[in-house]
């Protein structure tokens, strides 16, 4: 079996390696790039603990070959925080207790991140549908939904801050 050279950009950094074509993207991320925040949960493409954003779309990295991601860009949970500062979706999950054991969390965060990029104000139904490929055995999903709603508010507020101009108050 001929190995293949792949170059994958993860969280803005290029990772190059010669890999077996059968290597799953999730293993490239965890073992070649050393980013273990993305998890393997189920073996059957059900649980979504392996979710990353590939070229702008949330996908299950356990069901993608590393070679399929050659020359493409990926964001993982480690790429959400900027200069150490938590992304609003990460803050919201902490704030609203959207996690217990933490195993499904990176997958939940990445799908939520993707959802909020295309839908600024999702309804509860839209949130639950978007997360239907991410399973959680601990929380019962209530606080996860609350966290995503909170994150949506936070992101909107941050974006609106740029539009607000302070007017002088007339006496």
């Amino acid at each position: 079996m001929a190995k293949k050279d792949v170059k994958i950009t993860i969280n803005g950094k290029e990772y190059s390696s010669k890999v077996e074509p059968r290597m799953l993207l999730v293993h490239f991320i965890r073992d070649v790039a050393g980013l273990t925040g993305t998890h393997v949960g189920c073996d059957t493409s059900n649980c979504g603990a392996c979710t990353v954003v590939l070229d702008g779309k949330a996908v299950k990295s356990c069901t993608v070959l590393a070679v399929q991601a050659d020359n493409r860009r990926i964001t993982t949970v480690e790429g959400l925080a900027k200069n150490g500062k938590l992304h609003p979706v990460q803050e919201a999950f902490v704030d609203k207790h959207g996690l217990q054991c933490g195993y499904c969390t990176s997958g939940m965060l990445m799908t939520s991140f993707w959802l909020l990029q295309k839908n600024r104000n999702p309804t509860e139904k839209e949130i639950r549908e978007a997360l239907s490929g991410n399973l959680c055995r601990c929380t019962g999903y209530e606080n996860i939904v609350k966290a995503v709603k909170e994150a949506a508010k936070e992101i909107s507020a941050e974006q609106n801050k740029d539009l607000v101009r302070e007017e002088p108050i007339e006496a």
């Binding site: 077996e20 059968r22 290597m23 293993h27 965890r30 980013l35 273990t36 925040g37 993305t38 998890h39 393997v40 993982t76 949970v77 480690e78 925080a81 938590l86 990460q90 999950f93 902490v94 207790h97 996690l99 933490g102 195993y103 969390t105 990176s106 965060l109």
Partner: protein, 160 residues
């Protein structure tokens, strides 16, 4: 850092996240049958070379239940689908999984008893046991048979 913050950053250290230098990866050869006689096992590390019980598992870990010990690898019989029969190792997890097919196992499949009430009276599946009862409990004290109302029923825990 609060543990919740650690997890949202992807910095939880779950078992598979832990890495050591010169690590080996293990794959387990597991029984294809719920009940079978193991005629032959060749390859990997198996009961012939590693004949030890698991240190602590379920009822067998409690004192008084030593006879319900679970051996790491099955030897004469397998008693559940997926029971470990052998283990193989490699420095690469993909090759480790490939090595599973290098272990040869010959089974003589038998009919499993899957009804608990039948199991009460059928042949013990573990050698050295009188029957298939691991533990028997009476709940409550002062249990009298002369109560005005006696209720009797069996309850099925729908786990699958």
């Amino acid at each position: 850092m609060k543990s919740e913050e650690k997890f949202v950053r992807g910095m939880g250290q779950f078992v598979d996240d832990i890495k050591f230098p010169n690590m080996l990866y293990m794959s387990v050869v597991r029984s294809d049958y719920a009940r079978a006689r193991l005629l032959r096992v060749k390859g990997g590390i198996n009961a012939k070379t590693f004949n030890h019980p698991l240190a602590a598992v379920g009822e067998g870990a409690m004192s008084g239940f030593e006879r319900a010990q679970h051996m790491v690898f099955a030897s004469e019989f397998v008693n559940y689908l997926g029971e470990p029969i052998a283990a193989v190792y490699s420095d690469d997890p993909y090759k480790s999984e490939d090595l599973i097919s290098s272990v040869e196992v010959d089974y003589d499949p038998l009919k499993p008893v899957i009804d608990p009430e039948k199991a009460l009276t059928s042949e013990p599946i573990h050698s050295g046991f009188k029957n298939n009862i691991i533990s028997e409990k009476w709940l409550g004290k002062d249990f009298k048979n002369d109560s005005p109302i006696v209720l009797e029923d069996s309850f099925r825990n729908r786990n699958g």
